[in-house]
Structure formats: structure tokens, C-alpha cells
Symmetry: C2
Subunit: 237 residues, 2 copies
DNA sequence: GCATCCGATTTGGTATACCAAGGTGGTGTA
DNA sequence: TACACCACCTTGGTATACCAAATCGGATGC
């Protein structure tokens, strides 16, 4: 039969990616191919392949001849939020025209299943996953795969900070309600309202995130996180 | 290979990319790592690295266990045009707020220098390059690197067909005039007009491109180009 | 005591050998 | 003649050896 077991490269990519997104590998941390080879018990060939894919995703980057886990860059976070406003705002307008009621209901069902308060586990992780999934699924209703890819790529780059957005139950509840409101407008085929609510949600969430990041940056840096402030360029290490 | 500045991998990536974009490697053509190794006189390691980067760019893709040059996909072209409308339309609105007069004048100077009839190279190549550069530079005026990346990625995926848009001197003149009109609105700090003109330009150009592609698809296929016809709606993942 | 130079070590870049899986063609049999 | 089977060969996946450049440390000379 075919590959029931994923190839070493895929496994390694998944494990490295998970380690970066969980902040197990800190932003700004230096990576060496031979170090990863030892840590993950694979040879350099799959290590290099995984690094290449993560580089394309923006999760690692070159630092001179070497590699670093991409630092958290406040300017990049703002830029990605603007991109999401543009893409998701247009996508939901397309969804008003193209998505069937059943398509919308399916996304609504996912949203309802992820209503805050259900289930235990890590609330923050749950909130991050639910939020990322919601925005990707919503964009998918546009029927435009290029927009889905753009949104997914942005959400990936933002994944390491989004847990800050959903730290409190109140924040999770607000996000859920705003998501629900967008879907309501979409169900009512009200493109202007849906787009306005969605872009407002993205902008508001981002504003709160940047505020939290700025407030906590000293403490986060103390935990070993490299956070690139707004103005100056990258000064790794 | 004595070039000290560019590594083998970068050189190979550039040459492969050029071969794909120039249609020297036909869309849909099967690629083997060992074949490329022989054709480009490099070992498999840089070949694999280059293929990985081109895969991330969408210029090659996996086909089972092997590789193919990405076919030209009419649905993808339409989707990318929609993405560009959303991103570039928003970017020019940001540019109205953020770009200095000098920034805008610099882009205008580039546009004037690329006025149809000037310069060298074949007219079509010239038109493709000028168009791609213009849209990227225009997006750059937004000050948002994520938007620039999104537009550049879309233009890369579209590069193999854009020559069809600018086949005739009349088409090149029209594109140039529409570009100029966007810049005029931007100089006048008229966000609504700039965004409307730009999205209309992107949509109109794309419509003409799709019409030309549909009309010529038989002949193009005869030249060995694999063109994927309009596919059914999205059901990925 | 300080600066400088040199060499050992570490690093990514490259070439290549080996492996397993899948496809192909030929051959032998019914 | 048609079909089934098997050997071979091509392919991507992986491991690893070697190289050049950069770095770091210590020894040396002023």
C-alpha cells in the first residue's frame, strides 16, 4: 500500500513547525542544521528540506549563513492584519454571491461547536485554533483558493502571537460573537455589513494584540522571546 | 562555475525559473531530478533545493512522486486576479495616506521610462516586465511588505500568460494609460478614484487575457502547453 | 597588558552512494 | 494470441563524505 507512514521530511517538518508555533523554539533562536539533525534524529537532507519549507512559510529565516527562528516583528504583525482586512473583506463579499446556504451553515456549525465555555483543555490553544480555522473556512466560502492561501499564510505567521488575543474568557467570547455577527450578515446576503464587521473585527483584534504585545514585550523578552520593535530593522542575536 | 557571489543553488534556481517563465520548459512538462542534474550540470542537492523554492512559488508542483512544471490553470488565473483586485485596491488606498509625493513621483518616473516604444527587448517581454514592475512598485507605496509579497507572488504565477495581454501595441498603450490614470489619482490623493481605476484595470486586463487564452487554447495546446480548463468549484483540503 | 595572527573547529554548500518503491518491458505459459 | 509474472531500471528519499569559508581561542610578539 501507499505511505501509511509519512516520510522523514514530512515528519520532521511537522515536528519543527510545531516546536516553533508552540514557542518551544523561541523566536530569534539560532538553528544549526547539524544541531537539528541531532535533536530530531534525522540526517541533514530532510533537515534542509524542512528548513526550506519553513523558510517559505516565514517561520524560519536566514541569518547570514545560518538559520534563526523568525523573530516576532511588530511591524509585520500590523502589515499582515492589513493584508487580511483587504483579502478577507473581499472574500466575504464574494462569499455573499457564491456560497450556498449549506456552505454557510457548515461554517456556522463549526463556529457553534467551538463556542467558548465548551470543553476543557487549554482555552488559549482552543481559541487560537478556532479563530484560525474560522477565518480560513470563511475565506474558503469565496471559492477563491488564492485568497485562502493568502489568509492561511498570514494566519500561520501570526499564530505565535494570537494566543495573546484570546487569553481571557471575555476576549474569547467577544471574538466568538463578532464571528457570529459576520456569519449572520453573510446568511442575510448583506455584503456591506459582512465586510464591514469582518474588517472591523480584524482591525480591533489586531489593535488589542499590539497593545498586549507592547505592554508585555519586556516580560516576554525576559522569557527569551526576541521581539522586533516597530521601527528599526532586524538585529538578530 | 566560478561565480563566487552566487551559489550553485541560487544560479540553478534562477536558470530553472527563467526557463519556466520563458516557456522554454512547457507547462505540464515532467521534470526529473536527475534529468535537471544533467541539463544544468549540477548535483541533485541544489536541484532539489531549487525545486523546493519553485514549488513554494507555484512554478513547479508534485505529480505523484515526481515533478511537473505547473500547468496553466484558467481557474487559478481568475482567482489570482480577484486576489490582486483586493490587495492592490487596498494598497493604493493606503498609498494615498502614506506615500510621499516623492515616492509617487519615483514610480511615475519608472512608468514614463517604460512608455511603449522606448527601450529594448521584444515588445511583449518589455510589456510584461513593465506591468509586473509597475504593480509591484505601486503596491510598495502602501508601505506594507506583506501586500507587496502577495502581489509579487501573484504576478509570478501569472507571468507565463501575461505576454498575451500585451501582444499588440494598442494593448500596451491602453495598459500604460490606465497605469498613468491610477498614478494621477494617487497624486491627487483621491483614494476612491485610484482604487476604482486600479481594480477596473486589473479586472479588464484579466478579462481580455482569459478571452485570449480561451480563443488560443487549441493552438497553444498544439505547441505543447498544458492548459487546465476552468475547474469546478473549490473543494480542497 | 594588549593587539594580532594563525590554526582548529564549526558551519552551510555540494557531490554522491545507497535504498526502496514503482513502473516497464520482455518472456514464458496457457 | 493474450495474459500473467518477473527481472531490471528509473525515480525520489535518505545518509554521509568532503569542501570552503567563517569563527573562535589561544599563543605569540610588541
Amino acid at each position: 500500500m501507499t505511505n501509511v507512514l509519512a516520510s522523514q521530511t514530512v515528519q520532521l517538518y511537522d515536528r519543527l513547525r510545531a516546536a516553533i508555533l508552540s514557542l518551544d523554539l523561541a523566536p530569534g533562536e539560532r538553528l544549526t542544521e547539524r544541531g537539528l539533525e541531532a535533536s530530531f534524529d534525522a540526517s541533514r537532507t530532510p533537515v534542509r528540506a524542512a528548513l526550506g519549507r519553513l523558510d517559505a512559510e516565514g517561520l524560519v529565516q536566514r541569518d547570514g549563513r545560518g538559520w534563526i527562528v523568525s523573530p516576532i516583528d511588530l511591524a509585520e504583525i500590523g502589515a499582515l492584519a492589513e493584508l487580511r482586512e483587504a483579502v478577507e473583506g473581499a472574500a466575504v463579499r464574494l462569499a455573499v454571491q457564491r456560497a450556498t446556504d449549506a456552505d454557510i451553515a457548515a461554517v456556522a456549525a463549526l463556529l457553534d461547536a467551538a463556542r467558548p465555555g465548551e470543553g476543557g483543555g487549554t482555552d488559549a490553544e482552543q481559541g487560537v485554533r478556532a479563530g484560525g480555522d474560522f477565518h480560513e473556512q470563511l475565506t474558503r466560502l469565496s471559492g477563491n483558493p488564492a485568497m485562502v492561501d493568502a489568509v492561511r499564510g498570514a494566519m500561520t505567521r501570526l499564530a505565535r502571537t494570537r494566543w495573546l488575543e484570546v487569553r481571557t474568557p471575555a476576549a474569547r467570547e467577544q471574538a466568538w460573537l463578532e464571528h457570529r455577527a459576520v456569519l449572520n450578515a453573510l446568511e442575510a446576503r448583506d455584503a456591506d455589513t459582512a465586510s464591514r464587521l469582518l474588517t472591523g473585527h480584524i482591525r480591533g483584534t489586531n489593535d488589542r494584540l499590539l497593545a498586549a504585545l507592547a505592554a508585555d514585550s519586556r516580560r516576554l523578552r525576559g522569557h527569551g522571546l526576541a521581539i522586533v520593535p516597530d521601527a528599526p530593522p532586524v538585529t538578530p542575536r
